[in-house]
């Protein structure tokens, strides 16, 4: 008896209803969130053993369109993304409660309900067995995120919401067109490790057109340049939203889509035959460099983190584009590991905002002494993102580099090393300010931010460290990544 992959999706959907129903009793409402988050993680965890054993749990409901079922399959790649998003939701929920109550934010019921729906759709995206099911959840995620982006309801937030919708809805219709063309060309929409078989018979023109459509369709959420414009703007959202959705769920849904498209729609052989991998690699490489350079210019902490995210997402895209098993495994790993580090940094940014009401890097002088825990965690995350051991960022980057070597792409290795230096370049000055410069202004009160904020960020920082030392511990991310890569490249070149 295996767990149905529908269970973790339904848990948070039911929680959204309960949250809306208990809007007037804040403690009960938050209890639903926490209970759903814990239950969801355990339910996803139950999908792990079958995925590792190569017998992914499946669930097939009715047909969505004749011949295309509403179907889920918890394979290694999907479980990896599902574990990551549901696991981090637990910590984010605790943090959200601290953050929203700390700032006495309005409309918390809408906030927590939207959050729950977002997580349902993120796990739905992870476990979708075919492209149409994927699109259904992908679009739900788009809409469920909108209330979170505009949460502040200030004119700037409304503008950010419009920009967000303009980008993501356009991407959505493009993706629909791509799916329709695949269906007519290949006769199947099933995600198949190594590529959908029927697609090989399509003409070169069709394949190239499809590639462009897919690149635009998933590229927006994956914020591949020049489609990244919405992400820094959307940083207007409350910080927990930025943390989970803009470092974990939404943007990772985009790169997850890229991994699916490369490995399970086109497949490595078709990508290589039509030279699509080079195009993808060039886009990813350019994004890595440009985003890192742009990150230097940002004084607003969250915006700098946003550009850093744009760059790191393209690591994952690059890993897929290298078409080497080790690089693909590195990409899957980086999807998970970047999340633990980036969420730490966003949590820290939020804690600083709640405690000191500061948003800009130039205001951070001496903060390390006021908030030692927070800035300590920040240091760990920053070191990890620069790709230094013993953080998990080193592991995933190491595999990406090995993969690049395997594929014989020296340029990619140089890019990874260079980007590591750039990362260090835009993160370390923050640490220097926080720890080694004297504070400019007096701060009221003593001590770090509230434990509801500090405990989650310390936990994610510790997680980054633990996964850096034992990358296969617990959620078995390493094994999952290797299993996914082996599935994709098993029969390939």
């Amino acid at each position: 008896m295996t767990m149905s992959p529908f269970a973790p999706i339904l848990v948070s959907l039911a929680a959204a209803v309960l949250i809306l129903a208990s809007g007037r009793r804040a403690n009960l409402r938050e209890a639903w969130t926490l209970a759903a988050a814990a239950a969801k993680f355990l339910l996803v965890l139950a999908l792990l053993p079958p995925a590792l054993a190569g017998r992914p749990a499946e669930a097939v409901l009715f047909e969505l369109s004749p011949g295309v079922r509403f179907a889920l399959r918890a394979d290694a790649l999907g479980v990896s993304f599902a574990l990551l998003s549901s696991g981090l939701w637990i910590l984010t929920s605790v943090y959200s409660i601290g953050y929203m109550r700390g700032l006495k934010e309005h409309k918390q019921t809408r906030y927590f309900a939207s959050f729950a729906v977002c997580l349902s759709s993120a796990v739905g995206i992870a476990l979708s067995a075919n492209l149409l099911t994927f699109i259904v959840f992908y679009e739900i995620l788009t809409i469920a995120t909108y209330p979170l982006v505009i949460h502040k309801e200030a004119p700037a937030a409304v503008r950010a919401g419009r920009k967000y919708l303009a980008y993501t809805l356009t991407a959505g219709v493009v993706l629909i067109a791509a799916a329709a063309i695949v269906w007519r060309a290949a006769g199947s929409l099933e995600f198949t490790a190594g590529g959908i078989g029927g697609l090989a018979g399509a003409g070169a023109g069709t394949i190239k057109a499809l590639f462009v459509l897919f690149l635009a369709g998933v590229g927006v959420k994956a914020s591949v340049m020049p489609l990244h414009g919405w992400l820094p703007t959307a940083m207007i959202a409350p910080t927990p939203v930025s943390a989970l959705l803009h470092a974990v769920a939404v943007v990772k849904a985009g790169v997850f889509g890229a991994l699916r498209v490369v490995g399970f729609v086109f497949g490595p052989r078709l990508m290589a035959d039509h030279g699509l991998n080079m195009v993808l690699a060039v886009f990813a490489g350019a994004t890595i460099v440009l985003a890192s350079l742009l990150a230097f210019k940002q004084d607003n902490l969250k915006r700098r983190l946003a550009y850093s995210t744009v760059g790191h997402l393209s690591y994952i895209v690059l890993g897929a584009a290298l078409l080497a098993p080790t690089a693909y495994a590195g990409a899957v790993l980086h999807m998970a590991f970047h999340a633990t580090m980036k969420i730490t940094l966003f949590f820290c940014a939020g804690a600083i905002y709640v405690r000191l009401h500061r948003e800009n890097i130039s205001q951070l002088d001496g903060v390390g002494r006021i908030m030692p825990w927070t800035m300590g965690a920040f240091a760990l995350g920053a070191v990890g993102l620069a790709g230094l051991p013993p953080l998990d960022g080193f592991i995933s980057k190491w595999y990406l580099g090995l993969g690049a070597a395997e594929a014989g792409r020296t340029a990619a290795i140089l890019l990874l090393v260079g980007s590591g230096l750039l990362n260090a370049g835009y993160f370390f000055p923050i640490l220097q300010r926080a720890f080694f410069r004297p504070a400019k202004e007096k701060v009221e009160g003593k001590g770090d931010a509230s434990p509801l904020l500090v405990v989650p960020l310390a936990a994610t920082a510790a997680l980054s460290l633990i996964l850096g030392l034992w990358p296969d511990l617990g959620a078995r991310f390493m094994t999952l990544a290797k299993t996914a890569a082996a599935a994709v490249f098993g029969g390939g070149p």
């Binding site: 009715f62 047909e63 969505l64 369109s65 004749p66 509403f70 699109i135 259904v136 679009e139 739900i140 788009t142 809409i143 505009i150 309801e153 409304v158 919401g161 419009r162 919708l165 809805l169 356009t170 959505g172 219709v173 493009v174 629909i176 067109a177 329709a180 063309i181 269906w183 007519r184």
Partner: protein, 499 residues
């Protein structure tokens, strides 16, 4: 036995006597009119469901009125297509009539006008049912006139401006009907029959004659006008805007669909347009005009300040989807078009009804004046409106997505990338004009003039809320389960020979 043997004629036979009985019942008690209308439309919907079940089980049903055999007598035919659309029309009509009691009392305040309102509404529905079930071209014309005259009445009852709109509609509608009649005359003189099946049998012999081509084109233009096919849509915006909300909610979801049905019937079942002489691309012309209409209607909708007028222009665009499916003339296009008949009926009924709620509780439905107050006072209505709007944008799993999905598959089979682009662009244009409203409803703070009391919840009464919530639920449920409709009904409805 007995009465159910006559089931193809039953919806007509229920609605026509009811339309006549209502004025009599109104003499006894005014409220009886409403109850009788609900009862008869409910019965008609139930019978339609039975009819569809019968067709699914045993194939098309042919019914000879009075036992006269065609071509002398009039034949009623229920096949998969007509049975399906009859069901859609009657169910939507039932829900809208159920919803109408409070709104009609509010929007048609003149004493003694409620009773004739329901009588005329049922007459119109009876005409629609007749058009859908008849297998006889002249009988179709008769039902068309009955429904149209009733329809003008329903529009005109709204007030001073609505009378003008109705008169304009009357002129345009009559021109359309005349086109149809003249076209039919051409075909009748060439074939000597008015029965559709007969016409189909005889037609290959006269195909190629100019009369056949001219007749067909005139009939298509006539119904193109009734369907508001771009650029023959001029009557629609005013008629939908000025009519009382109950009337627009009754006319907009089903009225134009009935005309679209006639085009399906003409172009795919009776005539093969390519045979009508000189490779006449009638269906393709409908398709290209519709594509233009989709863009035109959507852009105009963005420019509107009045919600009902925006919905009217949106209807022109949405009718374009159906026309676009006709233009594709392949099985996915046909399925998409017929599915959209249902989908759009559900969505537009919901949206016009919620516009009615806004008018009733806020006194207006002008978009620039909407704000948070609307949502605070009517949370359910606003939520239902949002569901309808998201479905119009075409977001899964709502029904609107699946219309687009099948139409997109159809365009790919034809390699018609322009049509594909139009469908996708229309999604985004829809997003522009619907999110504009949603944004106001949820995010714009109410002005200082609103006191505490104004913000209190004052949702529409249950009799209005129930149909609206049912329609909102239907949008999601029908969307998720659309494959049952497509596989169960629509694939069997695809005209013979179409791939």
């Amino acid at each position: 036995m007995g009465i159910l043997n006559n089931s193809p004629a039953l919806p007509v036979l229920i609605l026509l006597p009811a339309a006549i009985l209502i004025p009599l019942a109104g003499l006894v008690r005014e409220r009886l009119a409403y109850h009788l209308a609900v009862l008869s439309t409910g019965l008609a919907a139930a019978v339609s469901a039975l009819n569809l079940a019968k067709v699914l089980e045993g194939g098309a049903i042919h019914y000879w009125l009075g036992g006269w055999f065609p071509p002398i007598g009039i034949e009623y035919v229920l096949d998969h297509l007509s049975a399906f659309i009859v069901l859609v029309v009657n169910v939507i009509a039932f829900l809208v009539i159920l919803h109408s009691r409070v709104l009609v009392a509010r929007e048609i305040p003149a004493p003694g006008k409620h009773v004739p309102y329901y009588a005329v509404a049922l007459l119109m529905l009876c005409g629609f049912n007749g058009i859908l079930v008849t297998g006889d071209f002249f009988n179709l014309y008769v039902w068309l006139e009955i429904s149209s005259l009733a329809l003008y009445g329903l529009v005109a009852v709204g007030g001073k401006k609505s009378a003008v709109a109705a008169f304009r509609y009357l002129i345009m509608g009559t021109i359309g009907a005349s086109f149809y009649l003249i076209g039919l005359a051409f075909l009748f003189t060439s074939t000597g029959t008015l029965n559709m099946a007969d016409m189909k049998a005889v037609f290959p012999h006269i195909a190629g004659q100019p009369a056949a081509a001219v007749g067909l084109v005139l009939m298509v233009v006539g119904f193109g006008l009734k369907m508001a096919l771009f650029p023959l849509h001029g009557w629609l915006p005013d008629a939908y805007t000025q009519a009382p909300s109950s009337s627009s909610a009754l006319i907009a979801p089903v009225g134009t669909k009935v005309a679209a049905y006639v085009l399906f019937r003409l172009l795919f079942f009776v005539f093969v347009p390519e045979e009508a002489g000189r490779g006449l691309p009638v269906a393709q012309a409908v398709g290209w005009l519709s594509a233009a209409g989709i863009i035109f209607g959507s852009v105009m909708a963005i420019a509107q300040k009045e919600m009902k007028r925006m919905l009217a222009y949106s209807s022109i665009a949405q009718i374009g989807y159906i026309g676009l499916g006709i233009g594709l003339a392949n099985s996915f296009g046909f399925i998409g078009a017929v599915l959209h008949v249902m989908n759009h009926a559900v969505m537009k009924a919901l949206l016009f009804l919620t516009a009615g709620h806004f008018r009733m509780r806020l006194g207006h439905s002008r978009i620039p004046e909407l704000d948070e107050t609307a949502r605070r006072r009517m949370p359910w209505t606003t939520a239902a409106f949002s569901v309808g709007a998201l479905s119009m944008v075409g977001l899964p799993p709502a029904v609107g997505f699946f219309s687009k999905w099948y139409l997109a598959l159809g365009t790919i089979d034809r390699s018609n990338w322009i049509f594909l682009g139009v469908i996708l662009a229309s999604s985004l244009l829809n997003a522009v004009y619907f999110f504009r409203v949603i944004e106001r409803l949820y995010l714009v703070k109410s002005g200082p003039k609103d006191g505490e009391s104004e913000s209190a919840v004052s949702e529409a009464p249950a009799s209005m809320l129930l149909p609206v919530l049912l329609l909102a639920a239907a949008i999601i449920v029908l969307g998720l389960l659309n494959a049952f409709v497509v596989k169960g009904v629509l694939q069997a409805a695809v005209p013979p020979g179409m791939t």
